[in-house]
Symmetry: C3
Subunit: 305 residues, 3 copies
Amino acid sequence: MHDLLTLESLSEQDIVDLLDLAQNMVEILDRPIKKVPTLRGKSIVNLFFEPSTRTRNSFELAAKYLSADVINVQKSGSSVEKGETLWDTARNLSQMAVDAVIIRHQVSGVPQQLAEILDIPVINAGDGSHEHPTQGLLDALTLRQAKGHVAGLKVAIVGDVLHSRVARSDIWALLALGARVSIVGPPSLLPSTYEELGVEVTTDLKEALEDADAIQVLRLQKERQSTGEIPSLWEYRLRWGITRKTLQYAKPDAVVLHPGPQNRGVEIDSDVLDSSRSYILQQVRNGVAVRMAALFRLLGGGHDE
Amino acid sequence: MHDLLTLESLSEQDIVDLLDLAQNMVEILDRPIKKVPTLRGKSIVNLFFEPSTRTRNSFELAAKYLSADVINVQKSGSSVEKGETLWDTARNLSQMAVDAVIIRHQVSGVPQQLAEILDIPVINAGDGSHEHPTQGLLDALTLRQAKGHVAGLKVAIVGDVLHSRVARSDIWALLALGARVSIVGPPSLLPSTYEELGVEVTTDLKEALEDADAIQVLRLQKERQSTGEIPSLWEYRLRWGITRKTLQYAKPDAVVLHPGPQNRGVEIDSDVLDSSRSYILQQVRNGVAVRMAALFRLLGGGHDE
Amino acid sequence: MHDLLTLESLSEQDIVDLLDLAQNMVEILDRPIKKVPTLRGKSIVNLFFEPSTRTRNSFELAAKYLSADVINVQKSGSSVEKGETLWDTARNLSQMAVDAVIIRHQVSGVPQQLAEILDIPVINAGDGSHEHPTQGLLDALTLRQAKGHVAGLKVAIVGDVLHSRVARSDIWALLALGARVSIVGPPSLLPSTYEELGVEVTTDLKEALEDADAIQVLRLQKERQSTGEIPSLWEYRLRWGITRKTLQYAKPDAVVLHPGPQNRGVEIDSDVLDSSRSYILQQVRNGVAVRMAALFRLLGGGHDE
């Protein structure tokens, strides 16, 4: 594995290997001194063209826990503003002897194009509405921890699946690992093409949640309201919001995930988010572990260090 | 001590212990190679919701001199903008296996609330007009270095005491260590409630400075002029500015402190600031030492490292 | 050498020594693990008053490859906004026990003034239209690598020489090393005072490029158009742009440099930039090496480390 660009392109074995590695990293995170020397002397660029606290910090901490150096490059204040193209920026960074680039970009496919022109590993930290592979991995890891396995689970993904890179990466991971997937949301925010892959597509929350072992609740972009893609936040919550009441459509031991940040009271209620059914904090912790695993796999694997 | 939130809540012994520890750190800072491995493997988040160069850099350097890793999270560009609550941000950061959070926030009391929900230590780097405990400690340390002791000194605090978290932390530290404190400034910027604590409150600079061993000059927010809280900058300087002339109201060997950044020619004149009576540069250096002491106490104390 | 402020003030031997040191650093950059412990325990401030990706990252990586700690201070969000003077900012940073300051500032001469008030080394990362010494060094190093030597080469510098700190540092380095220099561009953007130094000054691209072994193409600030200093981008390209056609005015083996970021299709065409004649990527890599050399010389030289 030279880059981590999509989960669609990974085999079941690739994904299982990354999850096993990430599970080891979780154990490292639980130690009083978690820093390990694995990537000492390596330098990693966090190249973010979209604002992000969580994912950027998660990658930065993951790299530092492995003793790598990190430099953060954000769009604001960068020479991107001076008219330099993305390619020039990335090529220059790679010339500066850095060992990997982590990129988030608002345009789908940019990380792939970047990987084609750079020799060093590229990690996709989210591209447009395409993929967010480390999110897909951390969700799968969280489910495996909660349920002991992923194969055979039914997982419902609720919300704006159409625009969601999280949903896309989740689906590829879950299908590869043998889960059943249903997607549900407003008709305007629901792609139909997944039916060919065996994904159940419905606008009826009750139907999607029936027999579900887990629910991944997607963040609703409130802007969807002004574009008319959803009727109103109130109506959205009524039909697709995860509340104590709608949670009962799923299995009694169904767990709840959310990639964050959450709109409390819109796509999910606080009393669900803060209940024992919710795994959102474990997702955050697993996010660091998965990113450590990805960095280790791309930068540390196969070497004698 | 689990957190460092206020000086009001600390005993005299707590404060003396922190100052003694900080004095050791000053000696480390004077070495050619000042980095020590004390907090190697620890990760600290600098979570700043207000702009700050000095305090943020001071904490970052303090952490790095102790070999900790630091990540900076500033409000701009963070997911706070996406509507995530402060609590979610902080809780997520703590899930990422960081070992401490340093927080500055424009709202008084936020660090305390944060400490209640987080298991890891929280350090208050300034909250609203409430407290700025490391500033209070560095001022006390500077006085102790300049005068050999704090007990028995008379310290005048000049300016906008009402809105000043610096003044508040100074007062708690100075009273705990046995100093006499007078506060002086425009009537609109002067709280009266401190009289109950034995603090002398006056609008007359000459009276406040009489017999003073030290003067802490507060920064004047120039916005106070447009709100009518002070008549004009010119008149403010005339009545409460520290100049070569007004300095004579104090003892001949009185020292001058200022938390910075200074408005030269407003609350203090350049020829005072740049004189041998001024300890402002020593304050900056002590700031790093005090923050090293706080981090060591909260993260390194009691462990076998 | 206590500071690195200008190339004008350096002797040929100083420059040769820095280039030799930088050449060693290039070899370190080519290693799988390039981090060396030379500056372990040192702390360096990147103090940037102008936006910059490339130079700031280059210095940050250079420092980290030598195991120094780096803190980044950018104008936005800093207390400079609160009215603190540059001098106070810098003096405070130096009080925080940092070991060197790297400064970029829009006003010519600021780094020199800073060096006068600080005891620690100051490195000029570009001041106004005055100098950018590490750029001059990296350009000289690139030429030396491409041609084996600098003495006796003819180097043409093309474009807005008048406002270019890059051109100024290039000229001092090239003259010190024994190269011939010609400068060419629109009359409004061309200083005449260099003629006294033996620099050839012309507005005729063909004349400037005749017998040239190397061409340094300067970035054109597109704002020059609205100020009337150039007729139009189209006409600029026609008369002073480096294209496959105009490149033929120079020697058949002439190499092309550009400090970046490039305006493709304005001052230089993509097919030249991406050809084997172009050394722009090598310039970027040499930039890191030169900055490592400067930091080592100012912070590591003479000590037993």
